[in-house]
């Protein structure tokens, strides 16, 4: 049977913090299995991870994305042409 490692052992091998290993697992970058509620990593998966590891390019990161060249609103905006253009017949709040 293949050798299984726990999070601490995997962290020791990769020389990172155990939380980093957990993060990699949550992000799906490192495959792991659960045995009796505990996380175990197959040795072969860890070796594959070492081989194939590449950082996520910044374009794929989700959080705190910035829109490039955000447009600035000014008084010449065509939206002002719509100001008061219509009147609804229902009483709106």
């Amino acid at each position: 049977m293949e050798n299984l490692l726990n999070v601490n052992q995997a962290a020791f091998i990769l020389k990172v913090h155990p939380l980093t290993i957990r993060r990699y697992i949550n992000e799906g970058r490192l495959k792991a299995i659960k045995v009796g509620g505990n996380i175990r990593i197959k040795e072969s998966q860890l070796l594959d991870f070492n081989k194939d590891f590449s950082p996520i390019p910044p374009a794929q990161r989700i959080f705190k994305r910035k829109i490039p060249n955000a447009k600035v609103f000014n008084l010449d905006d065509p939206l002002f042409r719509l100001k008061g253009r219509g009147a609804s017949l229902t009483l709106s709040s």
């Binding site: 989700i62 959080f63 705190k64 994305r65 910035k66 829109i67 955000a70 447009k71 600035v72 609103f73 000014n74 008084l75 010449d76 905006d77 065509p78 939206l79 002002f80 042409r81 719509l82 100001k83 008061g84 253009r85 219509g86 009147a87 609804s88 017949l89 229902t90 709106s92 709040s93």
Partner: protein, 141 residues
């Protein structure tokens, strides 16, 4: 005096109040947009908000004005955010976990999109749910 960010997220009620001169908040909305223009704010909105506004104008005012609204929005200087799958999932999670049943999916999505882009002020005339520390934008008078 605290320095306020010049990024504001516009909700559907803000757009609608500007277009509808019979709206209670029409004058307010006009003043807000004038202020944004003078102070060169960066305004954001999302495609769902635009769709909601379009539908409301279509139903309550006129289809031709609704079309004009769309044309104007896409020509103008308001930054339109297009949500991705992750944004929808986060909005659903927020909606499910929030205690109040009055939070709608649209509001939840707006809060998520604003939060992910570091926008803390929302311009709306509706009730704003306290999500991610966001606040309603008020004119600094």
């Amino acid at each position: 005096m605290t320095l306020q960010s010049k990024k504001v997220y516009i909700a559907s009620s803000g757009f609608y109040a500007l277009v509808d001169r019979a709206h209670q908040k029409y004058e307010h909305a006009a003043a807000f947009f004038r202020y944004f223009g003078i102070e060169n704010y960066t305004l954001y909105t999302d495609i769902l908000t635009i769709n909601n506004t379009y539908n409301r104008i279509y139903q309550e005012i006129s289809p031709s004005l609704a079309k004009d609204f769309l044309r104007t929005i896409f020509l103008g200087n308001i930054n339109i955010i297009y949500p991705e799958e992750g944004d929808f999932k986060a909005a659903l999670k927020t909606l499910v976990n929030y205690q109040s049943t009055e939070l709608t999916f649209g509001q939840s999505l707006m809060a998520v999109l604003a939060n992910r882009r570091g926008i803390s002020q929302i311009f709306t005339f509706d009730y704003l749910h306290q999500l991610f520390g966001q606040t309603t934008f008020y004119l600094p008078i």
